[in-house]
């Protein structure tokens, strides 16, 4: 029954920890982003497993994406995605106008440079979730104005 704030605080602390440590050791902040993204990947895989335990197989990719936008987002961030766009060729853009992990930072243009580190974990979360649904993808995020952010998902078809 962990409260949402617990996860928010843990996430903030995690970013603080991994960025400080790596910066001190080798001065590379990209490595920290990768680490955070990988953590998100692991967690995303597990979360989606638990969520879809009893539900039937998804009919197609679009169905899986819709599930991600509705149920997955709802259980992780307590709200649904505001906008889902696709070009039907494997690129999806998810827009969240009030991303929970960014609302505490600012609303507007302040601290936009710091936003990417808060988005590494969520990107990994999405990538992990999709990978366990059988979809390989590359997920990136961008922030123009806080706390709205866009996740771009590119499906890798082999």
């Amino acid at each position: 029954m962990a409260d949402e704030v617990l996860f928010d605080y843990l996430h903030m602390e995690m970013i603080h920890e991994f960025f400080n440590e790596n910066y001190k050791k080798e001065g590379k902040s990209e490595e920290s982003m990768t680490t955070l993204e990988l953590l998100g990947f692991r967690v995303g895989q597990c979360v989606i497993e638990r969520l879809t335990k009893d539900s039937p197989r998804f009919k197609d990719e679009l169905d899986a994406m819709k599930f991600t936008c509705k149920d997955f987002w709802m259980s992780v961030y307590k709200k649904q995605i505001d906008n889902l766009r696709t070009n039907h060729q494997g690129v999806y853009v998810l827009q969240d106008n009030k991303f929970r992990l960014l609302t505490n930072l600012s609303s507007g243009k302040q601290y936009v440079e710091a936003a990417p580190r808060f988005l590494a974990f969520p990107c990994g979360l999405i990538r992990g979730a999709l990978s366990n649904l059988g979809i390989t993808s590359v997920v990136t995020a961008e922030v123009a104005i806080m706390p709205a952010c866009k996740f771009q998902i590119q499906i890798q078809r082999v």
């Binding site: 962990a2 680490t35 969520l51 819709k66 709802m74 992780v76 307590k78």
Partner: protein, 142 residues
Amino acid sequence: MSRPNVKGLDPKKVSGELFTLTYGAIVAQLLKDYESDEEVNKQLDRMGYNIGVRLIEDFLARSGISRCNDFRETSDAIAKIGFKMFLGITPSVSNWSPAGDEFSLQIESNPLVDFVELPDSHSNLSYCNILCGVIRGALEMV
């Protein structure tokens, strides 16, 4: 395009699991980064301290509790209100020292350790050390 409603688990439980899973991933990563279990314990305690310092504000705002008069009240506040509010469990307070300034909190079913097994190679690891840090940080602020 209708699909039968995903019954699955209700949202509250999943957010609890999210926390547990994230914590597990953090510990695993720390174990990779640092060589010794002792170092990891220290890091977890430090992280917990930082979290506790912020969490106490949340706790006070939600519980509206007034100042505790003595240490026993403090222990009750931690066990019955704090833990219950955030983790949904009520640890039992026991093992009071003769001077009344030390006690133990015993947790029966800790949500942090769901799905976790500690291998023998890391027997020195205090997996829940973050909780120690959180309590320390929170209490220091009051």
